[in-house]
Amino acid sequence: MRIESEELSDGILKVGLYGRMDIAGVDAIAMQFTALTAPVGRRVIVDLSGVDFLASIGVRALLQNARAMSLRGGFMAVCCARPVVTQVLESAGVGNVVTVSADLNAARATLPQA
């Protein structure tokens, strides 16, 4: 599994995840994911378009980071998930606490302005 990040023009960080987000996958990206989302007040969109498998441990990783960001005044939104990954997010109720959008622009619109 790999992780890529890109600063968008409006100060939002896009974090792209790629691969199978299972135990081994989460292990591979956990430190970098946490580091990218750590700054106070960070606004992040997690792009899941490259994730073809999302295990419960991956859901936990997403939510732990989203929670930590929120406690530091930041915001996380999730976008672009494939159909099966969208179903995982639904089964775990992720949308109750984190905004889940179909595309990047929709996710952008859910984040507060800087």
């Binding site: 199978r20 299972d22 135990i23 081994a24 073809d52 498998f53 999302l54 295990a55 419960s56 441990i57 859901v59 936990r60 939510l63 732990q64 989203a66 929670r67 929120s70 406690l71 159909p83 099966v84 179903q87 995982v88 639904e90 089964s91 775990a92 109720g93 109750n96 606490v97 984190v98």
Partner: protein, 148 residues
């Protein structure tokens, strides 16, 4: 266009988290051979992963040297995966759904595995047979694309 066809495949795996990824590949291969819709195969893959991870983590005080038996069956109208272990009794159907938190700050992440098993199956069957746990993850193959 050919639809799903009868198939039975079995595998014995070591009760190890390292076995999960190869198991996923095995299931995908069996699902392809049986002609399952991609969405059905992906859902079963997720459900099986969670079921076996639970077994590896919790069925025995120490899983080293333990084995888990997996059966994939398709009869053309439904597909199912059976997980058999000789660990302590555990019926995943007894696990309540995760509680929806009032806010992200009050969230205690966890409990998603069984929720995923339920979500990606039409039937979740469990029996304790002597010293054996038998869990069946079943998907109907008719109208599977519109089921959830």
């Amino acid at each position: 266009v050919t639809g799903p066809r009868p198939l039975h495949r079995s595998i014995d795996i070591a009760a190890s988290l390292d076995a999960l990824r190869p198991l996923g590949h095995w299931l995908q291969e069996a699902a392809r051979e049986a002609g399952l819709p991609e969405e059905t195969a992906a859902g079963l893959d997720h459900a099986l992963h969670e079921a076996v991870e639970n077994v590896v983590r919790y069925a025995w005080p120490d899983a080293i040297g333990r084995m888990i038996r997996i059966d994939f069956r398709c009869d053309g109208t439904r597909a199912e995966v059976e997980v058999e272990d000789d660990g302590r009794p555990f019926d995943p159907r007894s696990v309540p759904p995760p509680v929806s938190p009032a806010s992200l700050e009050s969230l205690v992440p966890g409990g998603y595995g069984v929720a995923m098993m339920r979500h990606f199956t039409d039937e979740l069957l469990y029996e304790r047979d002597g010293s054996v746990n038998r869990l069946i993850l079943r998907r109907r193959l008719t109208s599977s694309m519109e089921r959830k």
